[in-house]
Symmetry: C2
Subunit: 457 residues, 2 copies
């Protein structure tokens, strides 16, 4: 069968999915609801709509509707870069000498450089539909901010991005891409918000964090008329939009009669992993097929593998709702690793529930090993991967090498979320042999987890 | 008909061309031969093989064989990123409100970020086939050096890149991509070659030039056993390899019954333009179809529009053969514009002959106008273009706006040679409103052209 599989499978435009798949509808144990941090009661539609767009809140709260039709305007936009290619990694298989068959779904074939655009365009569309003037958000590594600025430019929305200060300074080129798309980019923490001023007062000279930028963006959205806040990961709505990754991957594999044994994705907040596995996980839950799912996270920010499944704040400023998730504590600051997209202290509540229920595995990897995999992949497959994506590459290679030892012809699918063109400082460190690994001590984690809010689950 | 054209046309892997097309075979007036600068006689096979690989010299000198079969190993490599997409620019058409139909062939969907990989892999393959240890080359903007390092990594060849010093310093990330692929990158001029030392002595503190880096790379290749020099543009062999762009574009258009009226490409040394137009120009020469061809060059380096058609040196050090071409003089140093790939003083001899014979038009554009076009394109088509490619975008937009005025439904095809992810310094200048234009004065050009070598054509 496989000799008929081309290097790249491009679905036709007509095969672009017409609906997103809401995995929650098929989950036996639903993910826990967001809680109001004041009342500790589930957040209601009315409580969420001052912060988020109405249609997005509907999607956020709906755990029974199986499919959401993708509006025509969004499908038009998707045609710029979708269906995205599914690649058979023939070159990598040969380099490894493995009998395993490796596939990857590549989401970096757009200027934002990652899968983030899939949800950005949806969120911008609903904001426009609601008649808003603009949206605010935060960005760390910059993929999400870039994606959102592209989407806002398309729909004619104002886009205000709070960029973690250290990234703002280290990644001026990311910032310029956003500016090219008309976004305004503010280093966070900033003097422009109350929460920013407070953080600056308490921590003068801080280089910022994602949790802190979230707090600022939320304040900016709720204090200006006609603005709402949007978020690129963690939320249920984001996983819903990102299901297009898995739907396309499955359609492409089905076309060639291929069924994966193992599905691998990197996990920061869960947007890519959740999207990639959704339709496959749905089949597993319904007993229609069996798959192994592996979430790969950095050893420096190991929320699945060393965190606690508990209610926690989504942001540092503690202005956001509480979410039940695997968390390292909202005060946890990961060491300076080179995968900005995987430095979040928590995890999607959908994925957290699936992991808690034993439907998914997780492992953590150290960044030098990740960059070794990235370099090999770049050299043989010709695409320079993002550090985040390279976590999945590392695990895929490890699984393929196990197949080699065992002589097993397993089929592996992984998510190649993006390209690393804006991460060359990290590659330079690796090329110069100056990259090191950072693993939090048990004491550090215990101290951070001791500060979790007291909530009866 | 056109409503059936999708946003992106992806040919199947099986539709990948099996042979390169040698336009020279169909040219009535053949391009003038390279001359030995000492004897002023046409360069022979034996004179060229100490510098270039044997099979490549055969291709260079052959102006009668119409098709060269693409070796299977190269076709395998091409499958990493080819056939490349042909996009119908529906979004751009809508933004312009033009009745014109615009298509672009996108060559930036690979990590080198441009079409340069098409020839790099061919040149590396023939070097490997000849049993060489490695190759040397120069790079300015960095696309060619990146492409060559990818190709050399694939075939296990050593790759030595002389990078124009100003680019080496301003574009450290380009350099790191090359290093990730295992290439060694030396800022030029360097102390490692005789010509480099000479240039450094005469011009202390110089930031280098492409012509100077060529001289160094040629010296490095000819003074080390098992090495040859390779070049990413200008040469006949490069246009031959790049014909794959035009062949695929034509196959994709033919599939949908579309015939372009106007074909536009940016022109530095001519590698992309020559490749894009080849099969169409062949038809025009043979009277099978008519097309308008437009070469677009920067106003700061206007070899077609203000240069002289004459024999000139290909490099500053005057160690290379003489080529008959439109040239500004081998000593011409263009002002610091932001399209490093279009800063060469000369032009492909094939394209020069075609232009001389009136088969092609040329125009020059100023860079602020180019970046205006680039910004619009990025915003509506979702791809952040390279400054070089944006010259073609500028001309395509201008033609589409003319169609709008005249109410004409012309079909325009242009080459989108690459992405601008490593050109954000230029975009920043534009975003900050600090970009200016540089146009050489008549006196400057006359002074440079006065130094052309005296050769009877």
């Amino acid at each position: 069968m496989e000799q008929n599989v081309p290097y790249k499978i491009y679905l036709d435009e007509s095969e672009l999915p017409k609906a997103w798949y809401n995995l929650r509808a098929d989950m036996k144990n639903k993910p826990a609801p967001l809680l109001n941090p004041g009342t500790l009661q589930p957040m209601t539609f009315d409580e969420l709509t001052p912060v988020f767009c109405e249609d997005l809140v509907r999607q956020e709260l709906d755990d029974t509707t199986r499919f959401f039709e993708i509006p025509e305007e969004i499908r038009q936009f998707y045609k710029m870069y979708r269906p995205s290619p599914l690649t058979r990694a023939y070159f990598l298989e040969k380099a490894l000498g493995t009998p395993a068959k490796i596939y990857y779904k590549f989401e970096g074939n757009n200027t934002s450089g990652s899968h983030k655009l899939n949800s950005a365009v949806a969120q911008a569309y609903y904001a426009k539909k609601q008649g808003l003037r603009g949206v605010t958000t935060e960005t760390g590594a910059g993929q999400w901010g870039t994606a959102l600025s592209m989407a806002c430019s398309y729909f004619g929305l104002d886009c205000q991005v709070y960029m973690v200060k250290v990234s703002y300074e280290q990644k001026p080129f990311r910032r310029e891409v956003m500016r090219t798309y008309g976004a305004s980019v503010t280093p966070s923490p900033s003097e422009g918000t109350a929460v920013g001023r407070k953080i600056l007062q308490e921590h003068p000279g801080t280089s910022g964090s994602l949790g802190c930028a979230i707090s600022e963006a939320v304040e900016a959205a709720t204090s200006a008329p006609g603005y709402r806040y949007v978020l690129g990961s963690v939320l249920n709505q984001v996983l819903l939009h990102q299901s297009i990754i898995g739907l396309e991957a499955k359609a492409a594999l089905d076309k060639y009669g291929v069924q994966p044994d193992i599905i691998i994705g990197c996990a920061g907040g869960g947007s890519n992993l959740g999207g990639l596995i959704s339709p496959f996980m749905g089949e597993k839950i319904q007993g229609k097929a069996d798959y192994r799912f592996i979430a790969v996270e950095p050893a420096s920010c190991p929320s699945f593998t060393r965190g606690k499944y508990a209610y926690d704040f989504c942001d540092t400023g503690m202005v956001c709702p509480l979410s039940k998730m695997y968390t390292l504590g909202s005060g946890f600051i990961p060491s300076a690793n080179h995968a900005g997209g995987l430095r979040y202290h928590g995890m999607s509540s959908v994925l957290s529930q699936l992991y808690h229920d034993g439907l998914m595995e997780a492992r953590s990897v150290e960044q030098t090993k990740v960059f070794e995999a990235a370099q090999l992949f770049a050299r043989v497959e010709g695409t320079l991967p993002a550090p985040e994506s390279s976590h999945a590459i590392r695990a895929a290679i490890d699984e393929a090498l196990r197949c080699k030892e065992a002589g097993e012809e397993k089929t592996i699918l992984f998510g190649l979320t993006g390209t690393g063109y804006f991460d060359m400082t990290a590659y330079q460190k690796f090329n110069d042999g100056q990259m090191s690994d950072y693993i939090p001590t048990d004491e550090e984690l215990a101290a951070s987890l001791a500060k979790l809010p007291k909530v009866e689950a």
